[in-house]
Symmetry: C2
Subunit: 328 residues, 2 copies
């Protein structure tokens, strides 16, 4: 099965095909950029979700639809773009029934309304395999102002939105582990795993404040490493600063895992961004205005790679550096 | 499994989600339209292909990649748009190997060069199911001049490019039926099934000449019926005028099927377009300039539905009205 090696191979094989278009950003960013009308660019991204890999086959169909949409809107938010349209390629398995489809469409409708997005195209086919869904999402950003992964500079502070690790602990709950958790904590973790909140208001508001940005889909440390690699810098993260929800703290107390799970778990869909220190007050103000927790967790440094330290600056050793589908 | 009923249901469920954006064209056209810079629009389309449904699992990987690209470029050609970029969501199965991936990428590279297209984004995931590929393709067309399905008018002539039915007979050959065919005919049919020729030069050249256009992916009669429905007209096709290749004529002579198979078989990816009669000479000239056979096969009439007639105007009865994946 495709593991890390195959994914690297695919990236290596496909990257040369991007050279013809500068807006492809070398296939290293959250979305590509094409020209829009009068001073605008369109950010455009595609993501595929497979039943049993990216969601559980028995997840409620409306939530599957909404997660599908939201993971793509999260990519656009990470570019600073405001979404307006999606195209949907759906491969439905043998035995899909009318009620399932109606529930799926109703979830899609809910989120199209919440995020002011239209379905402008699509393709529907049958598959003998698992339900497979691909979305292409398009958003608008002012020409030349998209937030790129490659823009981090030594000395920038590293910030994250919301709380980290809820989805990783939520996955354990979705798989049936609940002992030691209150019903409220179970519900909170499940909800965050099944229904991420793409930071569509934060992303565009970071233009002019943040230098580099991306969304956390594969795990904070692994994703931060992408920013480091494309920007040619290193990073230090202070584990104790990581913003944790009450539910994640409860799960940790109940023995579900430690801070490592929060640092390396995927699917949070929070924004990870770097900010020059003189903009810290403005970021604080922005968080208050949006009613969204924004937390400084570390610093961009010269060098390469991501180091995680405790409050004394002593290194913590992590056994995994991120989440890859299947591969590990 | 999804059949005609489920596909209709999905269309009915998704169509309201398109209402927010006029460029969605009600999800009834080959591609959606969004604004581009200075007098341009971008046509954008997405298609999914599943191993065992849209191609045979043992088809050569470079040809799978090229077909994937070409079916999407065909949709853009049907809008009169010139392609420039694609995004690629790939779901690779357990056991995909390095050689397979290299061959797939090499096919993609070949066609990116032939059609001057860049891969500007993508997503690669693993699937426990069959190889599943989704492409989103983007092309440019002058503002307001895209060729729509909804534009056919009573009195228009109906034209098709190339030859019709090669892919439908080619599928039989790919499934192992060759008796009575010369090696050259076998090769020609296989090639046309495996590697369609999107009419990327013809499509943009039809702007100002054709009124409605679409590409033939599900079968000529079924696809023409889409034009009729969205335009609110009917159509008469004269079966004897259908342009057939020598290889298809040989397959018919060898008992593989009759003109019905050519009229209703899918995967030809020729263009089907309607033209006011006073533009017939210009269409003839265009065909000569492009070195591409263009054939008048019938007429748009008042009313609804597609009638197929013989040279005397007597109706032929067809048992199937088009090709649907799996369904029928």
């Amino acid at each position: 099965m495709p593991g890390l090696d195959e994914f690297s191979l695919i990236e290596r094989l496909f990257a040369p095909l991007a050279a013809r278009h500068p807006g492809a950003l070398g296939l290293t960013d959250d979305a590509a950029l094409i020209d829009g009308p009068a001073g605008q660019q369109w950010a455009i991204t595609t993501d595929a979700l497979v039943a049993g890999v990216h969601f559980l086959p028995d997840d409620p169909p409306d939530l599957i639809a909404r997660k599908l949409l939201r993971v793509n809107l999260s990519d656009l938010a990470a570019m600073g773009a405001t979404p307006f349209a999606v195209l949907l390629a759906t491969c439905f398995p043998l035995g899909v029934d009318e009620r399932w489809l109606e529930c799926f469409a109703s979830g899609l409708k809910t989120d199209c309304e919440i995020f002011s997005v239209a379905v402008i195209g699509g393709d529907t086919v049958a598959t003998p395999g698992p339900l497979t869904l691909a979305v292409t999402a398009i958003g608008a950003v002012a020409q030349g102002s998209a937030l790129l992964r490659s823009n981090a500079r030594s000395g920038d502070d590293i910030w994250v939105s919301g709380a980290i690790g809820d989805a990783a602990f939520g996955l354990l709950v979705a798989q049936g582990r609940t002992s030691g958790l209150t019903p409220a904590a179970v519900e909170a973790l499940l909800e965050r795993y099944r229904l991420p909140s793409p930071r569509t208001a934060l992303g565009p508001a970071l233009i002019g404040l943040a230098r580099a940005a991306m969304d956390i889909s594969d795990g904070l440390i692994g994703d931060l490493d992408h920013i480091c690699k494309t920007s040619g810098v290193g990073a230090v993260v202070e584990a104790g600063r990581l913003p944790l929800s009450a539910a994640v703290e409860a799960a940790m107390a109940a023995g579900f895992g430690g801070v490592e799970r929060a640092l390396t778990g995927g699917d949070d869909y929070e924004l990870l961004f770097t900010v020059p220190p003189d903009k810290a007050a403005a970021i604080g103000e922005l968080g208050r205005r949006l009613g969204l927790r924004l937390t400084k967790i570390g610093q961009i440094i010269d060098g390469e790679g991501v180091r995680v330290v405790n409050a004394n600056g002593d290194p913590l050793t992590l056994t995994g550096s991120g989440y890859r589908h299947f591969g590990g």
